[in-house]
């Protein structure tokens, strides 16, 4: 079994490397623009909680901007960034060039067309229904599906050209993630089984699978490549990674109905979802342990490597966020937290604390290898610390505020009391969100440096132990 990350293949021409790098740069830059847009919208939304009459009118009304924020985050920012990383990892770990640079560019255009059209449609009031993460009208979601198909084809073609018998684990996760998401997108679009309560069950399936079978495998696949690269040592246990792959595949699709506990969905469906939410601890703890054990004894390296620090936070975010998800699925805790802002805190702990930090760690670790250009230490540290502190404030304030909401309801207070009681926590959420947004501006600057800045004179992140490892 192949246990180490393959490096440059001698047969690769300079032209192939440049094509890979420019594709990677283009995906990352477009993703970054979406990040800035989506989080600027998020900041405006956060502000409206305290000043509901600020930015009035149809186009800036809360209910239209809310899905624009989530969809732009999901399908603009995170999807583009992770696909760019997946391409780079696929080509490098297979020791080959991209199957088709042209297809990668076509995919980039399709992803962006879908995200732009979706954003405009939602702002004009064309919504497929307030169905979480699939609000875009279906023709636009078809464009997104086309982008996924192109990506899957290209990734598979690239890995098929590999120069070794084995397929490196990263590619299991990324190819799997793209293939499964094609199915998710298709199931979400087809209308014949989506009437009334039937659509509720599809919503439960969709809203969780779109997160956990798309962002999670792509981010984990990137971990399996970037961590060994940064540390110059193989992943702790390849077999554990394979085990986590299959258990995640089997358990995750079953847990979606836990978003509709106490709803009129069949009780057995809800209970099954709870049981498998507990089972999810197996791949989550297995995967997290694998990453943390790969880092064992080398945590001191983080002082010299911001990419490693980003990935470390990403791994902790994965562990804590997913474990929290399991506990939230218990009926006793859902009674308090369901429908409150606690859920919003949870989704930011996972999408931000896990997925965003994973992407940033991956981009900082790999983009300089592709372009030979590095960001400055100041930019890295500003991004890291503002993002960490900001998201910490964000998640903690909404977790406390959401709990207070839930308890207010349980105590039978007038409903408006729950709105009054959480106000100060919404202010803190805004403070956290502002820090997060500022960190994204710094990230954009860092991406600029990695793409068009001065070339690094030395290898950007020479690991401390590189000499020993090479010896």
């Amino acid at each position: 079994m192949q246990t180490s990350v393959t490096t440059y293949h001698p047969s690769l021409s300079e032209k192939d490397n440049r094509a890979l790098a420019s594709m990677f740069v283009a995906y990352t830059i477009m993703a970054t623009l979406w990040l800035l847009f989506a989080t600027a919208v998020g900041l405006l939304l956060a502000y409206k909680f305290g000043a509901p009459d600020f930015a009035p009118g149809a186009w800036l009304t809360f209910g239209r901007l809310r899905p624009i924020h989530t969809n732009a985050t999901f399908y603009g920012w995170a999807s583009l960034a992770l696909v760019g990383l997946a391409y780079y990892v696929a080509a490098r770990s297979s020791g080959t060039r991209l199957y088709s640079a042209k297809l990668a560019w076509i995919g980039l255009v399709l992803f962006n067309v879908a995200a732009v059209a979706g954003t405009i449609a939602l702002d004009l009031g064309y919504s497929a229904g307030d169905l979480e993460y699939r609000e875009w009208p279906w023709p636009i979601r078809l464009i997104f599906l086309a982008a996924l198909v192109v990506t899957a084809w290209n990734l598979i073609g690239t890995v098929a050209r590999r120069n070794s018998e084995d397929i490196y684990l990263s590619n299991w996760y990324t190819i799997g993630g793209v293939m499964w998401t094609c199915i998710i997108a298709l199931v979400a679009i087809l209308p014949w089984y989506q009437y009334g309560l039937g659509q509720v069950s599809v919503s439960g399936y969709y809203m969780h699978n779109a997160v956990g079978m798309w962002f999670t495998p792509l981010a984990l696949g990137m971990f399996y490549y970037a961590l060994p690269k940064l540390l110059n040592r193989p992943i702790y246990s390849y077999a554990l990674g394979v085990f986590a792959f299959w258990t995640n595949l089997v358990f995750y699709p079953i847990i979606g109905a836990h978003h509709f506990l106490f709803s009129p969905l069949p009780w057995w469906l809800q209970t099954t979802a709870i049981v498998f939410s507990v089972a999810m601890l197996v791949p989550v703890w297995g995967g997290s342990a694998n990453f943390l054990l790969t880092m064992r004894g080398r945590l001191g390296d983080m002082a010299h490597s911001y990419p490693l620090m980003f990935i470390f936070v990403g791994v902790v975010g994965y562990l804590v966020g997913s474990t929290q998800g399991t506990f939230e699925a218990f009926r006793s805790l859902q009674e308090v937290w369901h429908l409150t802002n606690f859920t919003v805190g949870h989704s930011h702990l996972t999408m931000y604390g896990f997925v965003n930090f994973a992407i940033w760690g991956g981009v900082y670790a790999l983009l300089p290898l592709a372009t030979g250009k590095a960001p400055g230490q100041l930019g890295l540290s500003l991004h890291f610390w503002m993002a960490v502190v900001g998201s910490f404030i964000y998640v903690i304030s909404l977790s406390i505020g959401g709990t207070i909401q839930g308890l207010d309801w349980i105590h039978g207070r007038p409903f408006i009391q729950s709105v009054v009681d959480i106000q100060s926590y919404w202010v803190w959420r805004g403070v956290g969100g502002l820090l997060m947004f500022l960190s994204h501006i710094v990230f954009a600057w860092n991406v600029w440096r990695m793409s068009f800045g001065p070339s690094a004179t030395a290898a950007p992140y020479a690991p401390r132990h590189a000499e020993e490892a090479a010896a």
Partner: protein
């Protein structure tokens, strides 16, 4: 190549099976759920209103699912599978930043209130953080026949002319007013006595803790008279119930909204030594009456189905001893006697 087929193809096959099992099959089965008794399709105008609701993302803050939990009882009976037969796209929602709207047409049947609230929610609920939908209204010099001007409080009204809803707003309000849970067979439903014992247990559980919270809400414009002078009832409980059930129209300061909702402050029925009319109004609602010489067209909903005698007595006592009112307080037994008389 074989390995690639195994991993990519094999895992995709496994996933496809699970997607059918957990997504498609439950979808097929549940899509066949027949409508419950009394569950009707929407009229054309109401359906149009539902589209306005979807387009503007109302369900990101308002759920339409009542859970079988005590804290959800205020929103109606637990939702049943048959309630959703005509609801595509589904609007169950995932957050309850604002109240659940499953039964909104029963809880707040006044179109006038709905229009004022839609125009700017803070005109009727000062603490509300809902967006203003004033862009669904237009200002005209004079309401033409067939136009219904919205009686906005002065602070929210335009300097000249009157505000009338446009078609979107009319459709949306028609939809909101159509949100009424039909009674379930085998229970007397929302209007039924069966909901009452549990209702009172919810209120009972909340009472000791409600006191500090309720006073926070009232720290807005409430000017309560010396409650102890009235004596004999739990002020905090009465205030909490008033805030939850009455303040949206009659306002926390008891002043109502001129031209829209009558004041309780200085209200003759509230200060009458004979509490019968007051009790009757809370139990069975009111429509088309004159208060203080002013005619009010908005209907007041009945509370006989959602509140028990003790809760209604608490509300009445709070109203009779606040804002300078000095009506004699009533007991739950008096409410029970009035309830027994029927409409």
């Amino acid at each position: 190549m074989n390995k690639l087929v195994l991993i990519a193809g094999g895992s995709t096959l496994v996933y496809a099976c699970l997607a059918v099992l957990m997504g498609v099959l439950p979808g097929i089965e549940l899509s066949k759920t027949p409508p419950g008794p009394g569950v009707l399709p929407l009229t054309a105008l109401q359906a149009e209103g539902r589209d306005v609701y979807v387009a503007n993302g109302c369900s990101y803050c308002h759920t339409q699912q009542v859970r079988p939990l005590p804290q959800d009882k205020i929103f109606g009976r637990p939702s049943a599978p048959g309630d959703f037969a005509y609801q595509t796209p589904e609007l169950l929602g995932s957050e309850r930043t604002g109240p659940d709207l499953t039964n909104a047409g029963v809880r707040q049947p006044s179109a006038v209130w709905q229009y004022i609230h839609l125009y700017n929610p803070r005109a009727v609920v000062p603490e509300s953080i809902m967006p203003a939908f004033d862009w669904m209204f237009k200002v005209v010099d004079q309401a033409l026949p067939g136009m219904t001007p919205v009686p906005l409080p002065k602070a929210y009204a335009p300097p000249h002319g009157v505000v009338v809803p446009d078609h979107q707003a009319e459709a949306l309000i028609a939809y909101l007013l159509s949100l009424k849970q039909p009674a379930l067979p085998g229970s007397s439903g929302v209007e039924g006595e069966s909901t009452m014992p549990s209702m009172s247990s919810v209120i009972g559980a909340g009472t000791p803790i409600a006191a500090p919270g309720a006073s926070t809400v009232a720290s807005a414009p409430a000017t309560r008279g010396p409650a102890s002078a009235a004596g004999g009832y739990d002020v905090a409980k009465g205030q909490a119930l008033f805030t939850a059930n009455c303040a949206a129209c009659h306002q926390a300061n008891g002043g109502g909204l001129p031209g829209a909702f009558p004041p309780l402050k200085g209200n003759a029925a509230v200060n009458d030594t004979d509490p019968a009319a007051h009790i009757h109004a809370v139990l069975h609602g009111l429509q088309g009456v004159k208060v203080g010489g002013v005619a009010y067209s908005s209907p007041m909903p009945p509370f006989s189905g959602t509140l028990n005698d003790a809760a209604i007595a608490s509300i009445i006592d709070y109203e009779r001893s606040s804002w300078g009112n000095h009506g004699r307080v009533v007991t739950a037994e008096q409410v029970a006697a009035e309830r027994a008389k029927g409409k």
